[in-house]
Structure formats: C-alpha cells, structure tokens
C-alpha cells in the first residue's frame, strides 16, 4: 500500500521519475511518515538550526534502504532504481528496527536518516561537515563530529580508507569529511550516508534526536529555497485562517471533517474531542508578527461545530508556552477568547496549537472547531511582559496552567483504548478525499491515510 502511495505521490509531484530531479522539484513527505507504513515520530522541530546539509551537492534523497527498491522489504528492483533517486523525501527516523529508541512511538526504531547522494555511484559524492566542530572519533564505519555546542553529528558508511579528516581535526561547516560509500565493518551495505544527531537534552540525557526537519531546512538552504516566512500578523493585529500557508493539520485524517461554505474563507475543520491521554488530532498555526507586543487571541466559533467545552490550546509566544482550556460552546459573538499573550516580533517558534484530547467522551460528540484565529493588539507594550492568561476580556475563558490530561510517561505510545471517535457521523461524502483536496496535491495520499497517523499534509506542499 505504501508503495502505491509513493508511486502516486511521486507521479504527481515528479513528472519524470527516471530523470535527475531538479532543485525546483524538491518535495518531502511529512516527518513521521515512513515508507515502512509504520508510525514514525511526528516532530517538525529543527534540532540544529543553521546546519549545513551533510552532502556537498544537491540533489540528495533521504529515504529508506530497507523499504525502497533493492531493500529486503521493498518493491523489488535494485538500490540504484531511479525511484530511489527521486523526490519526495521520506523520513526514516524510527523506521522499524528491533533496537531501543525511546523517542519512537513503538519504543524501537532507526536512530537517524539514511541519505542517498545524487547518484548511486560509489565514492563519488562528498559528505561534509554539518557544523563547525571537532572530529572526535573514527571507527570502522562511523565518524563522529562534535560541534562546539556539543551536538554529535555521526556519519556512517563513508569510504573509511579515503576519509578527508582525522581524529582530533577541527573542521569548518561544509568541509569535506569523506565519500559516500557502503562501508559497514567488513560487510558492505547499500551506498548511502547514515546521518544522525545526538544531543544532551536537559532531564533526558544523551539521545538521538530527530534529524529529518533539520535536513529539510538545510537542504532548502543548499538548493536556494529557504523556507518562506509565514505571513505576518500586522502591527495592529489580524486574523489567520485554516487556509493560511503556515496552518497544518496533524493526526489521522479519518477523524478530521471539512465543512465547506462555512467559516472564514468559506471552510472550516472540526474533529471530535476524546479521552485519550495523548492527542489523536491536532492543528497548528505557526505565527509571525510584524511587531512584538501583547495581543488578545481568540478563535472563531460557530455553534454547530464549536461544541467542546474544554478545547486545549497551546500558545508558544516569546519563549514561553502556555496551555489554555477554552469553552468553544460558550462564545456568544462568534469568537472564543484564548487569552492575552506577549509575542515577539518575527517567527521565533511562536505558534498556536489546538488538541483533541480534552477528556470529553467521544460519544458526547463534542466537536472542536478549527477555523480562524484573531489577534487584537493591546496597547503598545513591549513583548517582555509575561502572558496574562486571564479572564479578561471575555468570560468564556477558563485559563489554567498545566491542565492537559496527564501524559503517558512511556513516551508517546497511546494507550490501546478503543477509539471512540469512530462514532463520528458521516457528514462527508468522501471525507478523506474532501479534506485532502482542500490542501491540494496531498489528495493523492488518501490511499493510505488510515495507516498514516501523524500526517502533516502541508509538508507535502512545501516547495
């Protein structure tokens, strides 16, 4: 099924599979979407901002060595199959393995990202330093580069007899490290670079963090397609809709509903609240502000679809995160107040997310409406003032801190409870198709949505 998905998506996005992909064709599957079909880790954080893509020249193709052509569980063919050397990219952090990986949904999986260079030619393409740092160790098929900040970049399967670096060598970002090859401790693997990142995380310790979005960002930089900033909220405020370029839906599309002809810009989404410890569906607006300052944040509500009394909103603003419960059903003027927050100018990892694990039982049909955000500037205060998540000015806000349902501490593996949201009424003629059609090219993904928990459909649209 996943192969079919890949074929369809690739066919839609890349006209000529056998031809070398041009930079302008670059597209990538969302983080956490694996060729293996299993649930990867949905994590769009860039863990190493500003890093250099670890292969010297484009194009390059992160994807699976196991589930792609030539892999044991792939669709046949050889590792040099043109489809292995085409967009879109595929995340393979957390691809099924039997070894421990506590950050993976299953608790096991692949630690990093396998990357093919532009062609499958051996010892032809250079791997380069992703950051300035020191080469700390050279094993039989692994080279580790530690940046000044302590991030360990690990490069596997380069041609060890032709390395461009030595132990203890100081390298600059972009310096050549070695040639992409298939060294694997005496038993060759496929020709690719396994690249991973290890960071010391406060309260966690040394851990292999997701690499995928750091690679996406650095590749966009390499090919001259830096990510466009999100459309900015004006100095006096403004609205953001679900059609905003920086709006993303997450989770299983089966449980999202699209309503056309209603809401801001004539469409809206809703999903049902449920009681699970972890969210099943959520949405996010990444934010950009022309000016820093305090803004009142409200969400658009229409009684027919805004029924949750405890919708969970997380607001990331000026280096802080606040969680707020909002009674969508209580709004009387079409807007439910989330709170007043100090935002910094620019993007700065600021966002508003809404989650479905409110604790409201699925059979209550408590719809969570996702449509628009409104920002109203409050005075001209500088953004160094802490958030005022309080009752003013609207009485329909139930602000609180740390009020989300207690997370299951066994990583992000939800309890295997019954998915009560399946009682969702059939309000859609072809629900997945409608939902996905609204986000354009991702429509082709409907064939496998049931297995693709954690879709970020917008990811496909990034160019």
């Amino acid at each position: 099924m996943t192969r079919l998905l890949r074929a369809v998506v690739t066919g839609a996005l890349v006209a000529a599979l056998a031809a070398p992909a041009a930079a302008q064709d670059f597209s990538y599957m969302p983080p956490g979407s694996l060729e293996a079909g299993a649930a990867g880790r949905v994590d769009d954080m860039v863990y190493v901002p500003g890093m250099r893509f670890p292969i010297e020249v484009s194009p390059a193709y992160p994807n699976s060595q196991v589930y792609g052509h030539g892999g044991y569980l792939g669709p046949g063919g050889g590792q040099c199959d043109p489809e292995n050397y085409s967009y879109p990219w595929w995340d393979n952090y957390c691809e099924p393995r039997d070894w421990n990986m506590p950050l993976c949904p299953s608790g096991t999986g692949h630690q990093g990202q396998d990357i093919r260079a532009s062609t499958c030619d051996d010892q032809t393409h250079w791997a380069v330093a992703a950051e300035a740092g020191t080469v700390t160790s050279i094993g039989s098929y692994a080279v580790t580069l530690v940046s000044d900040s302590g991030t360990a970049h690990r490069y596997l399967h380069m041609k060890m007899s032709r390395l461009a670096v030595q132990r203890g060598q100081r390298v600059a970002k972009g310096d050549r490290m070695g040639l992409v090859s298939n060294d694997f401790g005496g038993t060759p693997t496929s020709i690719h670079l396994h690249y991973d990142l290890n960071q010391n995380v406060n309260g966690v310790g040394s851990v292999y963090v997701p690499t995928y979005m750091s690679l996406v960002r650095s590749y966009e930089e390499l090919i001259g397609q830096p990510a466009e900033p999100c459309p900015a909220v004006g100095a006096s405020g403004g609205t953001k809709d679900n059609n905003d370029r920086c709006f993303s839906l997450f989770g299983n599309p089966t449980f999202w509903r699209l309503v056309e002809g209603e809401g801001i810009e004539n469409d809206l989404y809703w999903t049902n609240a449920w009681t699970n410890a972890t969210p099943g569906n959520w949405a996010r607006w990444r934010l950009n502000f022309e000016e820093g300052g305090q803004y009142d944040v409200s969400v658009n509500t229409i009684p027919e679809w805004a029924k949750s009394q405890e919708a969970i909103y997380v607001v990331s603003h000026d280096g802080r995160e606040d969680t707020v419960r909002v009674d969508q059903s209580a709004a009387t003027d079409g807007w439910a107040h989330v709170g007043r927050f100090a935002f910094a100018a620019g993007e700065n990892n600021q966002f508003v997310s809404v989650y479905d694990n409110t604790g409201e039982a699925g059979d209550l049909e408590r719809h969570i409406m996702v449509d628009g955000l409104r920002f109203e500037r409050v005075g001209n205060d500088p953004p160094d003032v802490g958030p005022e998540v309080g009752p003013e000015p609207e009485p329909d806000v139930a602000p609180e801190r740390d009020t989300r349902p207690e997370r299951d501490t066994t990583a992000d593996v939800p309890e295997p409870e019954e998915d009560t949201r399946r009682v969702l009424p059939d309000v859609r003629r072809a629900p997945d198709a409608e939902v996905l059609e609204s986000v354009g090219q991702a429509k082709a993904c409907t064939c496998d949505t049931a297995r693709s928990a954690g879709w970020n459909w917008r990811g496909l649209l990034r160019r």
Binding site: G32, A36, A38, A39, R41, V42, D43, M45, V66, Y67, Y72, P96, R97, D98, W99, N100, M101, P102, P105, S106, T134, T136, S137, I138, S140, A142, V146, S149, G150, A152, R167, F184, G185, T187, T189, S190, H194, N198, Q199, V201, N202, G203, V204, G205, S206, V207, Y208, N252, N276, G280, V314, G319, E321, S353, R407, T409, A411, V413, P414, G454
Partner: protein, 188 residues
C-alpha cells in the same frame, strides 16, 4: 549480498513493531513551562568543583594521564586495558571525548555538561532512576547513555566486523563496557 541479509534481519525483526504500532503519534509536549526552566530528572548540576581533588579509579599510563589532565570534565575509561588502546582525547567548550580502539572494537565516550532544553522530549521519555541508563543502537553500533557526576555521558561501542562480531549483536556487551567504566582523570 551479505548486506542484504543484514538488512533482512534488521527489517524482519521490526515487522511486528510496524504492525503493532500506535494509531496516533503524539505531538510535542504541551506542558506549561517557560523555555529554559530546569526540568525534573537527573540535573546536570554537580560538576566537581574546580581544583577539587579527585582520585582516579584507574591506574593509567602516564601518557594517558597527560591527555586527561587538561580535560575539564571527569572522564571515564574502561578498566579493561585492551579496550582503551590508542586513546585519543578531545574537548570542546562544554564537552570532552575519549576515543579508543583495540581488541576489534572502537569505543567512544562523549561527556557533555551543556544540555539542550527540549521540554517536549523530556515529557515523553520514560522515567529513569539512578544514572538513568538508556540503551540504543543503530547499524550495529550500541550506545549507552547515562549520568554520572552530573555529567551526561554517551558510550558507543562499534565493532571492526559489525555483522560477524557477537559483541555488536546486542546491547549486552555495551552494558558490560558501561559496568567496566571508571573515573580515569579530568574534571579538576
């Protein structure tokens, strides 16, 4: 073709996990917390004081001691001399590393005192106690992460013959190396 066999094994073992995987992935943690605020868990706050006398638990060769002496972070090395051959020590502003090779092995120990603040990761990690040992692996390199002296350590064990050396077939050998580690110098 041997690599295909290896990939076969690696992938096959993971098949059941793929089928039994969760239906939803969890997003980032949504806890209310100012970024940069200390989190619960083993804190990186107990570096030995500068100048404090620490007695190495290992009797290392003078050349090894000389490499370790300028290191600002307490360094751990295996008691087993064969595992700490060809020692090479490097350090950065907030980290130090020891790389060794011998007996068909490549060992590396990375010690870090600077921690990234990632609340969403901290909220998702299973609870741990003591030195908070966590094992992991990829491509036959086995890792053991743990805390000691308030420092976050990462031990990596790599075999010269990745597919043929049973020491790199599961985590037991790497955990044995972890048990074998002792304070060897640095951190003064």
């Amino acid at each position: 073709m041997k690599w295909m066999v290896w990939l076969c094994c690696a992938a096959c073992v993971g098949c059941s996990a793929a089928e039994e995987g969760p239906q939803t992935g969890a997003p980032e943690a949504a806890v209310t917390r100012a970024q940069g605020q200390p989190l619960a868990g083993p804190a990186v706050d107990r570096l030995p004081e500068a100048g404090a006398a620490r007695t190495p638990e290992l009797d290392v060769a003078p050349e090894v001691a000389a490499q370790l002496a300028p290191v600002r972070i307490p360094m751990l090395l295996p008691r087993t001399a064969a595992h700490r051959g060809d020692l090479f020590v490097t350090q950065g502003p907030t980290w130090a590393s020891a790389a060794m090779r011998g007996d068909g092995l490549h060992l590396s120990i990375l010690a870090r005192t600077r921690a990234e603040v990632r609340p969403h990761l901290a909220a998702q990690m299973p609870a741990c106690e003591g030195e908070c040992i966590r094992t992991s692996s990829s491509d036959a390199i086995f890792s053991v992460a743990f805390f000691r002296y308030g420092v976050a350590y990462l031990l990596n064990v790599e075999c010269d013959r990745a597919a043929a050396d049973p020491r790199c077939s599961d985590e037991s050998f790497a955990l044995g190396v972890y048990d074998d580690l002792a304070f060897a110098g640095g951190g003064q």
